[in-house]
Amino acid sequence: MTLAPIAQFRVPSQPVAARVPVAVEATSDHELMIAVRAGEIRRLGDLFERYHQPLYGFFVRLTNQPSVGEDLVQIVFYRILKYRHTYRDEGKFSAWIYHLARKVAADHFRKHASTPIPTDPVDMLDQADAGAQPSEQAAAAEDVVLLRAALARLPLEHREVLVLSRLQHLEHKEIARLLDCSVGAVKVRAHRALKELREVYFKIRKEKVA
């Protein structure tokens, strides 16, 4: 591997197209949720449009099972409806929804403790980009499969911190509040998780070659 100038490698913490919507829009998440709490239930639809995709990504990365991910997203929104009265005036909606999501995921893992997380599921393969060159496409697809397998092999707490920081683009401060630990602890955990992911990734690649 050749070393490029460091500045080129810097990955922005917010990716080009921010998928978690910015609160500057017409109505903020918080205002919408307050309205839902007051009985305007249909306004939860707006929140669903903003959050269902990131949440689905969170669950799919965490469980490695796309079909389970959809069910868990549904459960999160069901709980939002059911416990809407507990949403506090000073609350932050994104923190609340991820808090609920973590609980839903924990319930899922508790219920299916005996079922191992699939490391290489078939349904992970059906999203290969058809437009790319055959050789490049094959290499990229293989890389994605390898990475997913490596991610699935990480312990849950490492996988979770990676998913929250790199895939859900939550700030370390938010993750710390969510995991109930210090910001420093989150950073240390994220760094360790990345190192471990790399080790597992290369281990799996070696296994495949052999």
Binding site: S13, F48, H52, Y56, G57, R166, K195
Partner: protein, 297 residues
């Protein structure tokens, strides 16, 4: 800056949240340290790989399910519960009853309170006291009746004792109490008038000596004295009444002292007693003792 410190700062540097001076130090270290360069490159590579993971797209089923659930919840929220309906109806009823202005409402409530107080005073106060009195009286009468029954039982059991010794024993046991109840005394007086044994009657009179300040005892002894036929008991009774200095006994003593059929000793005792009672404040026991002594032996 050592390697460990540099690597600890990687995450912040990656985020762009590392202060400018520390970022400069980190960059300077990286240019000179191959180990940290490798580490940094590896971190960046994995981060890029992670960020390049295709976004997972949920199926349309998720949206359909969600909106079905939302419709259902909205319908539930819109449909008023029967409880809420009933409550609003009750609210309307009371709203119709009350005047609209708060001041009038207050006056209305005050008027209602005064009416209630007057009505309560008028209807509740008097009849409430009467039945309590009646029932209390009935209760007392009932208790008195029960007490009489107990008395009769005591007397009966005393009289039923077979031997004289047992009867005396019973009398002594009853009178041995520090403060025998009026009912006990009453029972003793009854036995004193009815028992066939001189010894029993005598021991009762003896025992009653301690209670001669009780008017019931004195009245009982006085009423029993004319009917008593045993001289010993008569003398004991006269002594008891004299010791108590009860002047009510005077006519009875007079009658006894003049009655020819009465024992000589009794007549003498009665005469002495009369003398004692007519003396202003002398001690009666001193004068009586010499005459009583030979009679008892």
């Amino acid at each position: 800056m050592n390697c460990q410190r540099v690597q600890d700062n990687f995450i912040d540097y990656q985020d762009g949240s590392l202060p400018a001076d520390e970022s400069a130090q980190l960059r300077a270290h990286l240019t000179s340290c191959p180990t940290c360069q490798r580490e940094w490159a590896a971190l960046q590579e994995m981060t890029r790989k992670l960020d390049a993971l295709p976004v997972a797209e949920p199926s349309p089923r998720l949206r359909e399910n969600f909106y079905a659930m939302l419709d259902h919840a909205q319908r539930d929220a819109d449909a008023p519960s029967p409880f809420a309906l009933a409550r609003s109806r009750i609210d309307r009823f009371f709203a119709a009853l009350l005047p609209e202005q708060p001041a009038m409402q207050f006056a209305f409530a005050l008027a209602l309170l005064v009416c209630g107080l007057l009505a309560g005073q008028h209807y509740l106060a008097r009849p409430a006291a009467a039945p309590v009195d009646d029932s209390a009286k009935r209760e007392v009468a009932e208790l008195r009746k029960q007490m009489d029954a107990v008395n009769q039982l005591v007397v009966a059991s005393l009289l039923q004792q077979k031997s004289t010794t047992e009867r005396i024993q019973a009398v002594l046991t009853t009178m041995d109490q520090k403060a025998p109840s009026p009912s006990d005394l009453h029972a003793m007086l009854t036995v004193m008038q009815t028992d066939s044994s001189i010894n029993v009657r005598l021991s009762i009179v003896d025992a009653l000596n301690q209670h001669s300040d009780d008017s019931i005892v004195r009245a009982g002894v006085l009423s029993a004295l004319p009917r008593e036929r045993a001289p010993l008991v008569q003398v004991a009774m006269i002594e008891l009444l004299t010791a108590a200095r009860d002047r009510v006994a005077e006519p009875v003593f007079e009658k006894l002292s003049r009655d020819e059929s009465v024992d000589l000793n009794v007549r003498a005792a009665a005469r002495r007693a009369l003398a004692v009672l007519r003396l202003p404040a002398a001690s009666p026991t001193a004068t009586l003792q010499p005459a009583a002594q030979p009679l008892l032996t």
